[in-house]
Structure formats: structure tokens, C-alpha cells
């Protein structure tokens, strides 16, 4: 299958500090990739580069998805949790690619919004302000925006942080459904169990290097496994994306 995103020897810097060097990889439609690594390893930097916000200092990022179909789900702490907006209003902002700043939402958009909220179990909260939602409900609302956006490439930054177990199950199910519909998903994760349940493959970032590993290698001694991968192997391998865990 033709990849929708290709990283060719990409090197990224923040200011004068080199963050990642020679990252390579391909991302097929429907793949779920976990980005893993210690704080400051460059996970957010890589996501910014894929979003087109940060230019690589070397190498090339080729993305076949138009920018308005690339969705980014930030960490909840990055958002103003008291923002005066309801769940429905947030979900409908996902219509931006088709409606932009001026076009009014019509009955079709409201119908789609209802369907999205129903899928995410949010119908009872549709008029509730974001500030009154739990962490899990807010995360579902943010994911609802990406569903409205009909995103083809979805990037999520620790979406299960501060989220209850029931919501994690709902989010994982929705994300797997989205992948089955062809959406390519890149997700920053820390929890190895969640990684195993969700990801097809793992991109481990550490000390400026990126290494591809399989989720199955994330056993009890996964920390050591990953460290070995990261330190011993300077070259970066791209794996097939079609090996979905059972």
C-alpha cells in the first residue's frame, strides 16, 4: 500500500539544539504507530514537523495528506480547560476544512455532529461547557472534533493521561475503528499495556536517535529492551505496518 507519510533522513532542531537526527520511516493508511521515549526525547518535535509547523534542518518529510486533513490532539493540559465552549461547539469546529471561518453550519453538519457524539457516548453532555467535563469526557470531545474533520492522519499526545479506564476502552475502540477506515494514527504513549493493545509498531526516540521496535518486545523488561535498541542501534529501520497485534 502506498505510504501516506514518509520521513527521509529527517533531522530536527529546536533553536540551536539538535533534537533528532536521521529519522526514517514510512506510514501506511490504517497504521497505528506509538511514539515512545523519555521526556525531551523529541516526540513533540517530531509531531510538530509532521504537522508542518517545524521545518527539518536536513532530510525531507513527504506527506500525501493535505494539511486540513491532518489532525492533532494535544495534551489536555495544553488547553484552557475553562474555555467557554460547549461539547457540540467544539465537535463542530472540526468542520473547518469545509466551512472555514465564514460558512454557517447547516443541518447536515449538526446531524453529523450528533452522530459523532453518539459514537463517543457524549450525547448527554452536548450542551455542557468544556470546563464542567471530566478528563475522559473532554478527551472524547476532542477526538470528536477529529472525527468531524474526517482526518486522514491523526496525531495524539498522551491521550489517555488523566482518563478513566472506561474512557480508555472507548477511545481505543474508536481509534482502532478509525484505523480500520484508513486513518493513519501516530500516538505519543507511555503505558506499555496501552501500547500493546493499540499500536502496530513503536518508534522509540532517545538521545537524538529514532529506532523502530515491535510492540511485542514491550514485555516486563521492556525498559531495558528499549534502551538496548536505542543505544546499540544507530541506524533506523522501517517495519511493515500491517502486523496488527492480536
Amino acid at each position: 500500500m502506498e505510504p501516506i507519510l514518509t520521513l527521509e533522513a529527517v533531522s530536527l532542531a529546536q533553536g540551536n539544539r539538535m533534537v533528532l537526527e536521521n529519522v526514517e520511516g514510512t506510514f501506511a493508511p490504517g497504521s497505528i504507530t506509538a511514539l515512545v521515549g523519555p521526556n525531551g526525547a523529541g516526540k513533540s518535535t517530531l509531531v510538530q514537523a509532521i504537522m508542518g509547523v517545524l521545518k527539518p534542518i536536513r532530510g525531507r518529510i513527504h506527506c500525501g495528506v493535505p494539511s486540513d486533513r491532518r489532525a492533532w490532539l494535544p495534551q489536555q493540559l495544553a488547553l484552557d480547560l475553562t474555555f467557554p465552549m460547549s461539547v457540540e461547539e467544539l465537535v463542530l469546529t472540526g468542520c473547518w476544512p469545509t466551512h472555514g471561518s465564514f460558512k454557517r453550519y447547516g443541518p447536515e453538519e449538526y446531524r453529523r455532529g450528533q452522530a459523532v457524539m453518539q459514537r463517543l457516548g457524549l450525547q448527554a453532555f452536548e450542551h455542557r461547557p468544556l470546563g464542567e467535563l471530566s478528563g475522559g469526557q473532554r478527551q472524547r470531545a476532542l477526538l470528536g472534533r477529529t472525527l468531524m474533520q474526517k482526518a486522514q492522519l491523526l496525531m495524539l499526545d498522551e491521550p489517555f493521561a488523566n482518563v478513566d479506564a472506561a474512557t480508555v476502552d472507548i477511545l481505543i475502540e474508536v481509534l482502532r475503528d478509525m484505523a480500520a477506515e484508513g486513518v493513519s494514527i501516530i500516538i505519543v504513549l507511555h503505558d506499555h499495556d496501552q501500547m500493546r493493545r493499540l499500536a502496530d509498531r513503536v518508534l522509540w526516540l532517545d538521545r537524538g536517535r529514532a529506532t523502530w521496535v515491535a510492540p511485542s518486545s514491550l514485555d516486563a523488561a521492556s525498559g531495558a529492551t528499549l534502551s538496548n535498541h536505542a543505544t546499540a542501534d544507530a541506524s533506523i529501520h522501517s517495519h511493515s505496518v500491517n502486523e496488527r497485534p492480536a
Binding site: G15, M51, G52, V53, S67, D68, R70, A71, W72, P74, A78, L79, D80, F83, P84, M85, S86, L90, T93, W96, P97, S101, F102, P129, G131, E132, R145
Partner: protein, 294 residues
């Protein structure tokens, strides 16, 4: 009683002009204030109000008390300070608010120095504190024109501003340059500050922007509600402050802003959300229903 409200307006032209100027400013300054609070830039508005002073001073030195000249000067100074602060922030990596704070202090000192060189303390007082009762027809047209243009622009970029306030990266992903939106918003703010300084002075023009906006947050959790309430508080403060200043023989600018301040304090005490009273009420609510006790 009705005479108390009506007679100053029917008897005096300057009161009618002051009323129209106050209403025009109240329609646009509070919504700008709502966006400033949502963007976490409450103090940036205050800083920019001071930053326009050197431009106002240069306009005053060149053309005397000419509102168009002083406004153009103020607008240029405000935009220059906003641009310099943004530039320093990008080049040094420092937060933009600290750069703006530094530049506004320099601007304030430069403005006071310029006026002191050529004007009197009366001139300085006029520029710093304004006089809504001295609004002439030219000033009124300028204020109404700026307010109308701001209102139309705000309506046009409303959705962009809302989405950008919540999640700037989402908007960047959609191909909208956040810096352009930010610059346009700062431009609108400076434009309104320069329109407002004739009536309220450079130091208090931001009061009509911020106080109604911060007071409204105690009453509504919807953005439309915040806008509507902030405008209503702005209109109440402008009209009430104007009448109070007329009947009590007090300066008009401080009356308007103090009245808005009273509304803010009452809202902080008794508002529906997050006020002292609302928090107290929530704290004493029983955890269990009444029939569960005993």
C-alpha cells in the same frame, strides 16, 4: 427621576456627543476584552494602552489637541511597540508579555517626557486621563468609524479567534497563520485604545475593555453570553458614569471606569460562577440527600 436621566442629554450637546461616544466604545471594547481574557492577555491590553503614549504625544506636539493627529500617532506607536515586542520575543525566546511590559514602560516614560518638553501639566493630564465631555464632532466621527470597523472585523474573524484561543495548533494545521490572526487582533486593540483615549485617557481607555469582560466571566460560561454581558456592563458603566459625573460634578472618565469596577467587584462577590458566594454555596451543599441522614 426621569428628568435626572433625560435632562442632561436634552439640554447639552456635549452630553449627547459624550453619550454616543461612550455607547460606540461600549459596543466594541468589551468584546475585545473578552478575547484578551480568553487569550490570557489581560495585562497586555493595559501595557498597550500605555504604549500608545509617545505617538499621542508626537501628534499633540505637531498639531495640538487634534484627535486625528493624536490617534494616528498613537496607532503607529502601539503597532511599533507590538511589533518590537513580538520581534524581541522571537529573537530572544523570552515570553512576549515580558517584552511588551518592557517596551510599554519605555514608551510611557518617552511619552511623558515628550509632552513635558512642550506642554503644560494640564496638557499631560488631558492626554493621560482624557475628557469625554470635550468630544467634538470630528472626534465623534472617528470614534464611531473605528467602532464600526472593529465590529465588522470582529464579526468576520470571530470563529478564527475562538478556535485559535482554544487550540492554536489546530488552526495552524488548517493552514491559518496564527501570527497573522494575532497581529490583526493586536491592531484592532490598539485602534480602539487610540479611539478611546480622547474620552477616557490613555491610562483608563483599557478599563472599558477589561472590567466588563472580567466581570462577565462570573455570570456566563458561553462565549455569546460573555460578549453580550460585557457589552451590557460597558453600556451601563458608560451611561451611568456619564450621568453621575454630570450630576455630582466629577470627572467623567474615572466615573465610568469606577462604575465598571463596582460591577466587577459585585460580580466577584455574588456572580453565578466562581464568585466568592458561588464557592461558599457549593461548599455547604450536603454531600448526601436529606433523607440519607440519621
Amino acid at each position: 427621576m426621569i428628568d435626572w436621566f433625560i435632562s442632561p442629554l436634552t439640554d447639552f450637546g456635549f452630553m449627547r456627543r459624550a453619550l454616543v461616544a461612550g455607547l460606540a466604545l461600549s459596543l466594541v471594547a468589551p468584546p475585545l476584552g473578552v478575547f484578551l481574557t480568553l487569550r490570557g492577555m489581560s495585562l497586555v491590553g493595559d501595557a498597550m494602552a500605555h504604549a500608545v503614549l509617545p505617538g499621542v504625544a508626537i501628534g499633540f506636539l505637531m498639531a495640538g489637541f487634534s484627535l486625528p493627529a493624536m490617534s494616528v500617532g498613537g496607532l503607529i506607536a502601539g503597532l511599533v511597540v507590538a511589533g518590537l515586542a513580538g520581534g524581541v520575543s522571537r529573537l530572544t525566546g523570552h515570553r512576549e508579555d515580558s517584552a511588551i511590559a518592557s517596551f510599554y514602560l519605555i514608551s510611557l516614560a518617552a511619552g511623558v517626557m515628550l509632552i513635558s518638553l512642550r506642554g503644560s501639566s494640564v496638557d499631560l493630564t488631558h492626554v493621560l486621563f482624557g475628557s469625554i465631555l470635550a468630544v467634538d464632532s470630528t472626534a465623534l466621527w472617528l470614534i464611531v468609524g473605528v467602532s464600526s470597523a472593529t465590529l465588522l472585523t470582529l464579526a468576520a474573524i470571530f470563529r478564527i479567534l475562538v478556535v485559535e484561543c482554544l487550540d492554536p495548533l489546530f488552526l495552524r494545521g488548517q493552514g491559518v497563520r496564527g501570527s497573522a490572526v494575532h497581529a490583526l487582533f493586536l491592531g484592532l486593540m490598539v485602534l480602539n485604545l487610540t479611539a478611546g483615549f480622547q474620552t477616557l485617557g490613555t491610562l483608563m481607555a483599557v478599563g472599558l475593555m477589561m472590567l466588563p469582560a472580567t466581570a462577565a466571566r462570573f455570570w456566563s460560561k458561553r462565549i455569546e453570553g460573555l460578549m453580550g454581558l460585557a457589552i451590557a456592563i460597558g453600556i451601563f458603566s458608560s451611561v451611568g458614569g456619564l450621568l453621575l459625573s454630570y450630576h455630582a460634578g466629577l470627572p467623567s472618565g474615572p466615573c465610568i471606569i469606577l462604575l465598571a469596577g463596582v460591577v466587577y467587584l459585585l460580580s466577584a462577590l455574588f456572580g453565578r460562577y466562581h464568585s466568592v458566594f458561588a464557592r461558599w454555596r457549593r461548599r455547604v451543599e450536603p454531600v448526601l440527600p436529606a433523607d440519607a441522614h440519621g
